[in-house]
Point group: C2
Chain length 324, copies 2
Amino acid sequence: MAQDERTLAQRLLAGDKRALARAITLVEDDRPEGWELVREIYPHTGRAAVVGFTGPPGVGKSTLLGALTRAERARGRTVGVLSIDPSSPFTQGALLGDRIRLTEHFLDAGVFIRSMANRGALGGLSEAALQGALLMDAAGRDVVFVETVGVGQAEVDVIDHADTVVLALMPGSGDSIQALKAGVMEIPDVIVVNKADHPLTDTMVREIRGVLSLGPQKGWRVPIVKTQAAFGIGIDELAEKLEEHRAYIQAEGTLLERRRRNLMNEVVAIATARMRRQLEASIRDDAGVQELLDEVCERRLDPASAATEILARNAGAVERQHDG
Amino acid sequence: MAQDERTLAQRLLAGDKRALARAITLVEDDRPEGWELVREIYPHTGRAAVVGFTGPPGVGKSTLLGALTRAERARGRTVGVLSIDPSSPFTQGALLGDRIRLTEHFLDAGVFIRSMANRGALGGLSEAALQGALLMDAAGRDVVFVETVGVGQAEVDVIDHADTVVLALMPGSGDSIQALKAGVMEIPDVIVVNKADHPLTDTMVREIRGVLSLGPQKGWRVPIVKTQAAFGIGIDELAEKLEEHRAYIQAEGTLLERRRRNLMNEVVAIATARMRRQLEASIRDDAGVQELLDEVCERRLDPASAATEILARNAGAVERQHDG
């Protein structure tokens, strides 16, 4: 078993796409070999430019990523795309359909595309996304795009370990503008307005400018790039802005600072996700915990006291797991 | 100290507004007396109708809640309003300004209005929101409105312990419609389209109908209520739909089932939030943990292994806390 893992790591570090695919599956399935593999390849990470994409469904993020991938390939760079699909009864059809737009790259050895679906809490999703990005980084991808779908801060958190965060909008993205304006969602590094052939595009750009003018006026100036991804329009400008941002944070020394903060957050997120998973398992399997929950439902024991009891039961379990 | 707490609980259970205000502050500040108080009053909860409101900023949720409060008062019911403001540099001005729309009720003893701002993770916010709602319930409020702002599933989670979840939209809420359609956000129990004097209102209602037609067709049929909250238009219909939903889940027996599921989720959320807070404290205070994080940043130790180490250190701390 230990020999197989070493071989997988070596193949991954050599850039083997099948090894990369296998590695991501191990991480996605939360298998111990996956974590062991990430541990092994971690010293070889930190080289890739990791770019996170978020935005409401329907703005054409996959088309954008397809076009950007083409632009990066034209510049001689290898690309990894990691799409994070939140779990939902409806999602499967709606979001996986988008993947079709990336198929033109399937035969290119310089492009690796992969979807990850979460099965648990958002913490677990973000955790898996980071591991997936590290694996792509170790496999020698020059650029790693991590894509998630949504319109809230939680979605931004999933890609918060990226060096550059891109928010993709389109004319009509009023709710997202309001969320930025109210500070419910953090300002990203680059904003794209896709489907920019729509007559309301300039109105949208003006609204975004208005929101940005409320934020800090020093440091990086968030560019607004108009694109029509389906026709390749604006994509080169977007690729340039991504490079400019990376050059900026490197020159300012904020890349290291940002990565330090992100890695710290990720360590906490991984630890929290594990504890949560353990708690959920103990709730399923432990008859004593089930009794506590019955008491909560019957209003005899309050939720916080039940949580305290469960934490105490669990502390022992964490220690035992660590010893094992 | 113990005598003070008992007095506060008694005053709270008698419906004293100052006691309720004090109690919520204790919970918001995460003070042990607050948790002790919730423990004490918990057997007296479960009577209030808890209604959660979410939706993008700018749709007029506060105006809606102001108008709904008036409608409930006219029906002789006492009301509690708990507004959950996510922390953000911009938020303070933008969201607290909204509170002004609720001031007409400040002199009415039958109305209690309170904002809570979170300082930490969403888990902590949801935790505080539940405790706040329980306190209002114990203080004898007939209806408790819990409001949060945002356009993602994370925001819905904050109000997920409500008996009825309302999503407020307005013409132009395209991103939210797309999020519902893609299944990124769960379908609520009642949808309100506010600012319904806008010419695109009927288009919006049709889009929502289209989304709802993709969901399950049996059970509760999600009503779409058009309102102009600023003029009181549509508010009585909304109040009726809220009552209908409550009657429905009571008749179907799903109220108890829903509360059981929600309480379980809350117990896990409280436990997770506590563990996370403890982890963050240990990262701040523990030199050994700081060294681990340095190793992560220098790519000598991977984030997951660091998380395992920190969890092991923390397990002991949890046990000690419980013994104390």
